[in-house]
């Protein structure tokens, strides 16, 4: 038997294979990719947004990218992620900004490339434009809800109430604090407010909380505007043996924070409905791509979580990462 090596056929096969590979390589993916950039990752409050974005994207046969800084004040890292996604030419970006001003330029860069951007939770220090929508936590409502809870603890006149976590980088915190003050002054015009800026470094936050407790004996309630502040105040209250004596109302949820509501160490938590925010954002981007949506501001109402209602289905649904209460 004579073995015949058909060189021509082999060469043609290689050529055909190369052609197939090249064609497949050039096709790439046609699925629209949505980048979701939270203020930080591995926090339940934003993991629920992640889960919802993936669920919606799957139902549309779209795909998502998810990543954020490892801490909420690492603005530089968030800008880097944003720039990378803009360069990649994603179909849309959902951004929870870590800074009201510093993120404006990256957003403008996205808009220049016709990438629709949804800003969640806290606004930028700019107005929404055609390619930019603000889907914000209703911070004024949050302030009013907090005021409602604080009012339960006011005794007589000359009470002191502290607000921790106001930060100019997060414009929503200013709105919340102002709304709360305005509402509380209707209860007691003589009420005194102690306001302190937020810091994300634990020792400083802890210092701030301890100093506050020592210097203000008339404190009736403390309202914290982010989970870092809430944890610091909880720690300080514990060390100063003031748990239960000063009401603590938190304005952002994480599973470990909610636990303190269950134990009674905290009065309540006002939970942000991040799932609804991201759902609205996905739908807006979808409509924007079809040319039927334009820039606007949408407010999403937060939910009060107390020891009494923490196990109710509607509360658990907001808290749950996958939106499933079972």
């Amino acid at each position: 038997m004579v073995f015949r090596f058909d060189c021509g056929a082999s060469l043609r096969a290689v050529g055909l294979l190369s052609l197939v590979i090249a064609v497949n390589g050039c096709r790439g993916t046609s699925q629209p990719l949505i980048a979701v950039i939270p203020p930080t990752t591995a926090q339940e409050v934003w993991e629920s947004a992640h889960f919802e974005a993936v669920r919606i994207a799957n139902s549309w046969k779209w795909s998502t990218f998810w990543n954020g800084p490892s801490r909420s004040d690492d603005v530089l890292r968030q800008i880097q992620i944003m720039d990378k996604e803009v360069d990649r030419g994603v179909a849309g970006i959902i951004l929870v900004p870590d800074h009201a001003v510093a993120l404006i330029s990256p957003v403008r860069a996205a808009v220049a490339k016709k990438i629709p951007v949804a800003i969640l939770d806290n606004p930028l220090a700019a107005s929404p434009k055609e390619d930019v929508v603000f889907i914000l936590n209703d911070n004024a409502a949050m302030g009013r809800i907090a005021a409602g809870r604080v009012s339960h603890y006011l005794k007589g006149r000359g009470n002191e109430v502290a607000v921790l976590g106001v930060h100019p980088s997060f414009l929503g915190t200013i709105v919340t604090a102002n709304a709360m003050k305005q509402a509380l002054q209707q209860y007691d015009p003589d009420i005194r407010f102690v306001e302190q800026r937020s810091t994300f470094a634990s020792p400083e936050a802890s210092d701030t909380a301890e100093d506050l407790l020592k210097e203000h004996n008339g404190l009736r309630a403390i309202v914290t505007l982010n989970v870092s502040e809430t944890r610091s105040v909880l720690s300080a209250l514990s060390r100063e043996k003031l748990v239960g004596k000063i009401a603590l109302i938190g304005c952002e949820q994480d599973f470990d924070i909610i636990y303190h509501v269950r134990t009674g160490e905290m009065d309540s938590v006002i939970a942000k409905d991040t799932r609804t925010m991201v759902r609205d954002a996905m739908e807006w981007i979808h409509r924007r791509r079809e040319g039927t949506a334009t820039g606007e501001t949408i407010l999403v109402t937060p939910k009060l979580v107390t020891r009494e209602n923490v196990d109710s289905p509607d509360v658990q649904q907001i808290l749950a990462v996958n939106g499933n209460v079972r």
Binding site: V2, R4, F5, D6, C7, G8, A9, S10, L11, R12, V14, T40, T41, A42, E44, E47, F51, F65, W66, N67, G68, P69, S70, R71, D74, L76, R77, T199, F200, A201, S202, P203, E204, S206, D207, E210, D211, K214, R231, L234, S235, S238, R239, V243, F255, D256, I258, Y259, H260, R262, E265, V310, D311, Q316, A320, V321, N322, N324, V325, R326
Partner: protein, 722 residues
Amino acid sequence: MSSLRQGSGPRGAAFYGGLLIVACIVAAALVHADRDKYVLNTGRMDKWQTFGGVWALERGVFDNNSDERGAKLMSGSPDWSDVSLSADVRMDQEGGDAGLMIRSNNEDLGVDAYNGYYAGLRAAEGALIAGRSNYSWSEVPPAAMPGGVHKNIWYHLQLVMYGCRLGVSAENLSTKQTASLVLHEDKCVPKGRIGLRSLSTGSQWRNVAVAKGTQAQLDAIASHAGGEVSPEPLTTEAAYAKHFFGYGRATPAAPDREQLPTPTATHIGDLTDFHGEVPRQVLVRGVVTLTEPDIYIEDFTGGAMIKHPKGPPVNVGEGVEISGEAHPLLYSVNIDQSSLRIISTGSPAPPPPLSVTPWQAASGTYDARFIEVEGHLTRDVYSENGYQVLELAGGGETFRALFPNRSDETLRNLRVNSLLRLRGVSVLGQSYTQDLIPFLIFLRSPDDVQVLQGPPWWTPWHVSLLGVLAVILACSIQLSYFRFRQWKKDAISHERERIAHDIHDTMAQSFAGIGYQLQGLRTSIIRNANVSREQIVGELASTSDLVSRCHADASHTIEMLSAASPAETGDLLGLLAEQTYKLSGGKIRVCKEEEGTVRPLSLRTRGVLFHIGQEAISNAITHGHSNTITFVLRYEARSATLMIVDDGRGFDVSPEDEGFGIVGMRRRAREIGGTLEILSAPGVGTRIGVTFPMSHLHFARKLTLRAWLAGWKHAKASPEPE
């Protein structure tokens, strides 16, 4: 074998195609072999890739000196599939977790920013954990570690990934207590790199080893585990509360902070000389920004160096409380004779650096602060006093950056004149700067150096090299020009010589004949007055014939000189046939034939063959009185032959008697490396054969689509016999 030899045309292309396939197979085999080679370089840090953290490698021990959440150090092959990975792990804190990654892909900065598996020890729960991340974490129920998980204890971790099952075992190397668990997924990550990872605690890893994972290894771990579970994300708050704490138990999140008296802390920024009287004994709180060579902390007002603190070792990013003796400096403060306690762990990385210019750093405002600054590297990185030293310049300032001289060689790859962005703790003071520079920066890891821009291409060396290349290029062009002119001159000279030969062979001889005829007639008339009128007419008739022949020769020469260049036209045999028709006035029958696999001839070859053919045609018409001329072009494997055969009178072939015409044909044949062969005898016609080599065409040319298609058609038309 024969088929390969014959395939110098399209088959040659196929041959090279076959070689290409073999090369692909060999390359694939090499890649496969590399994939199956389970080797880790645990001696050089530059063989690992960092994603966050402050990493160092000292005598085989990897150290992440940072509490950053999700700091990763990656290595290995992205094609590793069934892997056994083991290491001893030690944590610095009673919080956070530390462990190993396996089959990891697509890593990035971020807590869960990878696609793969992670297993480790979690201090808060005292448990062995394992799970899967795809930029979102899911885990299996933790396995309780007997005796809990504590800081400063070495634990041996082993991960065995086989198929879609991950077996994890841990052993407390002090108490020999163990725990195991097995994770499985229906759709698993098929392959990936390995890595070290920690979350919210500094940690060390030693004896990091990798090998091929086996079913037996996995089964051995599974025999001690309590079943196999798929990872699930914690999705509800209620489940979280039940899972971790249970209802009604003591508060979990009030940190395990010591219940010590807490005097009011002083802001670090208030401790400098500029703030008037400074307390000698102070209590400050801050975040650790540097641990080597000294501990530096900072709060939002300033930074301080902590000298010889008594207390536990600390990591970058941890919150600490320091009480000690303050020694104010001009721009910062040293705290000596101090005691240190950690007041917060598991906080994220140190605060983002303050981005300043070199001038601002030199102003002292940022002394002992964690800063980010840019500058150009002015010389190669060198070692001095146990540090790798980077000398930089920017904004009119010169400064240095120092990194402990470990086995990490990454910084030595930096090129002079690169624009760098550095992060580190800025330090002023004569003891560090020796009054040579205004400030220096202590780097924490090679990741603190980012190359913003490589050195410009126009370094003196590059400019010199470019100049030399330009000179060489100019010389080459000049040489080529001279060679071209010489070639052109030679070509003209050769053509003149050939025309001279032609004229000599034809018209010159005819004119000489005419001259002899006329001279003979004249001599006859002068010497013999009785020359008859008939004789004179006969001589003149003969002379007239010679003039006619001479005219015909001149016409032939002009015809040949004015013939179109064969390079400009197509078929060589067709041209020769046309030339025969013109020269003979259509009286000669022409046959032409091609044999073998037709291949393209070079322009030079076509030109030479055309001129030889012209000469042969002219001879056949002029001397041979032929009726038929046949042109045959035969292609062999490595050569080809042009044969011109006529049925004329023929002649005796004698090398001594060869005229200019034949000599010219031989010379032309030699120009293309060929030989000329003449077979002839009186009465049997003449056969002239020119055999010449076929040039070896370039491989790429053989692979052209045209050649490929020609081979395809030829193979279809003439299948090779068995």
